[in-house]
Symmetry: C2
Subunit: 378 residues, 2 copies
């Protein structure tokens, strides 16, 4: 970016209906700057764009343009970390530039260099399960600690958890809005947006200050999320949800698509399962993603190759293995004493004694509501 009058010229170009990226680039290359484009006579512009578009650029600005421009100025002047980046700037994130439809200009609040770091998008349902939220947080934190930026959409649910996890992992995180940069959506995430900026990340939007969160903006917003990132991780998603759009756009941009599996009975996993069926990589841990992005050396064994026919190996699964019967009855969900009794057929006293021992061994955790849960081994 280079000063207010160049911004004004850019904004005037942006506000010209039907001016696409390729044409804008041709004009900028030919005339040297947005201001020079606007100063050029329609006849000169007409060498690069159709006559109607040339007159629209050279003619009077659209209705209420000056008000919208003023709002941009106010926003840009409203904080030290606010700026704009255009496709002509060195600061424009290269991964986004390589996509089919990069925005001409981005409003940015935060660390502009975080836009160009190696990042992963983490997206998903706005109404996830509790475990989905924890997964989003844990993956974002682990990937953040591994040096990736985390891109998401500031939405409720998985997006929020992804940003929070990144902050937890002390990684820059980018929130891409489907509204103006002064209109974080949902409004209750304004504080999270501020923490994202304070944490060395950025809140970005291609929409001008004052643009409300219109439904139709969100799918287009998703192309920026996908485009900024080496890959997109879908944590939980219903069928026919916005997260699948982001995944499709990532795939179309030649980026990796990752998905976390879950119960076949959970609607929030159906989108992820559909993606895996379509070729998305199933991931169980952050390491799976780092390996796939070649940021980590692959772990050895392939299970199909590794499942040797030797009897020693088989000993683990055929007659002879043993697991604590209480742990087996617990499974991996929070479980009541009643359910444990039904599953084991044991008297309460025996179960209580066994559970206490398992608690002391830190293998079982007592949860609120009389629930017991197996503790994950870190």
């Amino acid at each position: 970016m280079s000063g207010r009058s160049e911004f004004d010229a850019w904004f005037r170009l942006l506000e010209t209906p039907r001016l696409g990226l390729i044409q804008a680039r041709q004009l900028l290359a030919a005339f040297g700057s947005a201001q020079a484009v606007l100063r050029a006579p329609p006849s000169a512009l007409n060498s690069f764009v159709p006559a109607a578009l040339a007159s629209a650029i050279a003619g009077p600005p659209p209705e209420a343009f000056s008000e919208r421009l003023l709002r941009c100025h106010r926003w840009l002047d409203g904080g030290p970390l606010r700026r704009y980046v255009t496709v002509g700037d060195a600061d424009y994130p290269p991964p986004l530039l390589q996509t089919a439809d990069p925005p001409l200009l981005l409003f940015v609040e935060g660390a502009v260099e975080s836009l160009s770091m190696r990042s992963l998008a983490i997206v998903g349902a706005r109404n996830p399960t509790a475990q989905g939220l924890e997964n989003a947080r844990a993956f974002a934190a682990a990937l953040g600690r591994a040096g990736l930026g985390i891109v998401s959409g500031l939405a409720r649910g998985i997006d929020t958890a992804a940003h929070e996890g990144a902050l937890l992992g002390q990684a820059p995180t980018l929130a891409v809005l489907g509204a103006g940069p002064d209109e974080p959506y949902p409004p209750q995430n304004a504080a999270l947006a501020a923490r994202i900026v304070a944490g060395g990340g950025a809140v970005i939007s291609e929409y001008a200050p004052g643009t409300p969160p219109l439904k139709e903006n969100f799918p287009r917003r998703n192309r920026i999320i996908a485009g900024l990132s080496l890959g997109t991780l879908v944590v939980e998603a219903a069928l026919r949800s916005g997260s699948l759009i982001t995944a499709r756009l990532a795939s179309e941009a030649g980026r990796e698509v990752f998905a976390i599996p879950g119960s076949i009975h959970s609607p929030q996993s159906k989108g992820c399962h559909a993606l895996i069926k379509q070729g998305a990589k199933l991931v169980e841990a952050a390491a799976d993603i780092l390996e796939e992005l070649a940021l980590l050396s692959p772990r050895a064994a392939s299970p199909l190759q590794d499942a040797g026919l030797d009897a020693g190996f088989e000993a683990e699964d055929e007659p002879g293995d043993a697991e604590d019967p209480i742990l087996r009855a617990l499974g991996h969900d929070p479980t009541t004493m009643d359910a444990l009794q039904a599953r084991t057929g044991w008297p309460t006293a025996d179960l209580a004694a066994g559970l206490l021992e398992l608690e002391l061994q830190e293998k079982v955790q007592r949860l609120p509501g009389g629930l017991y849960q197996r503790r994950a081994v870190a």
Copy 2:
């Protein structure tokens, strides 16, 4: 099969150490029958097999052979549905014959024609989760109703549930043993074995009557399970488990491998996830398998293709959708009132009223132990 003396000759061949399938076939083709092979002089046999093997065939039987043979006779005479099938018989199941290492002879109790029907193997952990058991039963019943036979290993856990589901779906089910046909393993599944035979299926083994359930037999047994089947479905499996051997053998035999995903925090799903990473097909429903086996026409939409950028579609996921907050708080696991309170922040009275309404709408089910669970829509 053709009479007792031919069986005796086959059994004698089987008991000859180091006689492989290809050699046995060559001998049978050259001499016309197992009895003729045994009658041939070593010099004649030596045209087809090495001299040591020729002498072993023509020489005295191994130690205690006649006792083992007697035990075979007793077993074969012990029930009307007992017989044996050799690689030379028209009844030998073609899919198994096409594998790299088909057993020369199978002991069969039940409907021998069920061995040759289009079948799917369903295998998995011996210590599955409760949901895993239900999934095994439901998939087996649905696939059975769709006309597939269900092959499994009679083991505890998923195998047992697969056989039971097939019986529920009134489909023939095949139990392949890793011991003699008179030694169902585990012993408590003897009744299930009898129901399998009564249900039009079969219990089969390549091991002679009296062979105990030796650990080392089970991985080899798995090749029969895989070989009899168009594909193998792994319902739940730990890493490094016998089910992954069956999956590998199915894959090596050019058969499909299917796996059901689950929580990334459940060890019983890790084997399935590893298989999916390796290229196994993720399945959520029996229809996925029927489609893949081209027994059902594919459903239309691909999610990546289908996730249109139209605003109307997006309306489902972006600002505006609504789900009952109690259902959202319930997720898809059994949940206590305390957990619901923690998740919703609602007073007990409001929650109780809401839950009652959802119960009346058949959207929520009250479970033993004060748990509430969302009801799956059939």
